[in-house]
Symmetry: C2
Subunit: 202 residues, 2 copies
């Protein structure tokens, strides 16, 4: 089951949501995400937030106080993990506003590794130890940002690595690309990384 | 001595640079940063990059090949640390484009803790163990994103903390605010955090 969560990030960073609605996902609006969905002519199954900036409380919404220790998105992700058997959670509108919120939301992936943050140009996910096949789909670049010192093997990419130690803060694993041999094969031997697929700059 | 580095991030994320030029800093253009400076009618002392997208090599530039293991910004920061006695390094144009590059550049701060990334709305710095006074200046929000499990004390802020353990991926330390008692007093007892000052949303 797919869950689509829409938060209140800037509209210019949010793609058309219609293609993600075809599998009839559960749709959750986080606070101002109600407006984002309305602008795209889409309905939500559930709304979560304090709705301070919205100016009204959507019918049936789960209301949280404005001053709290967790963000609305974090509350929404916790709700999803408690109430749904999700196999895929796509989050829109969680990037592109204040950079502290964007970073915060990227780190949230560590708590919820099923989740992918979606922008108009990128898909962002968290990889812990394990093996992964990552397809190119429409994307051009494949980047890995280690959160801790990490040992990586990258196969079927333009710049392969074998059991390579990648420090935090280096640039070696940014802007890799697929070959035409199919999905990239990624092994995180130790450590944890953020993996990003990005569209071409051109 | 202040060093100002200008990279090629989207123009809409780069503030007017003139106010930062008053102390006659060393000005370094990183690749397309040459264009950003030219658009603001400003000169550079040094240019570093591969200049592939610029279409010409600026006179006296330090040229690097396009395919390399380090980003142009990383090379520029290394050059600065080797050639200048900088007390302050401000980097513009390192955020707001591809999110993998933005994240990469935030992590670069770990290697170069003197550096601050500047956007039109934020200032981003890296704090390791130690005590810091952080002024409000024109900013409204003060956020801390732990990169590893961190113990923090925050004083003179709206939501103070005392020797508090802050996990990676939580939201507790996002969107704090100053009181009117002067600079926030921040103690990183153990761990490391990204500290961000942000303008108000309004």
């Amino acid at each position: 089951m797919r869950v689509v969560i829409v938060a209140a990030g800037p509209a210019e960073d949010i793609p058309s949501l219609q293609p993600f609605m075809e599998e009839k996902p559960v749709v959750i609006a986080v606070d101002g995400g109600v407006t984002v969905l309305a602008q795209q002519g889409l309905a939500f199954d559930l709304a979560i937030g304090d709705f301070d900036s919205l100016g009204y409380k959507p019918e049936g919404a789960i209301i949280h106080p404005a001053e709290k220790d967790e963000t609305d998105l974090e509350l929404a992700l916790r709700y999803v993990s408690q109430h749904y058997e999700a196999t895929e959670v796509l989050v829109f509108g969680a990037t592109g506003g204040r950079l502290d919120m964007t970073l915060q939301n990227v780190y949230l992936l560590k708590q919820f590794p099923l989740v992918r943050l979606m922008t108009k140009r990128e898909e962002i996910r968290f990889l812990q130890q394990g093996q992964y096949d990552i397809k190119a789909d429409q994307y051009h670049y494949l980047s890995f940002i280690p959160l801790v010192p990490t040992r990586l093997t990258l196969q079927r990419v333009k710049y392969p690595l074998t059991q390579h130690d990648v420090p935090v803060g280096g640039s070696l694993t940014v802007s890799n690309e697929w070959t035409n041999q199919g999905p990239a094969k990624v092994t995180v031997h130790t450590g944890e990384v953020i993996a990003l697929r990005s569209l071409s700059d051109h």
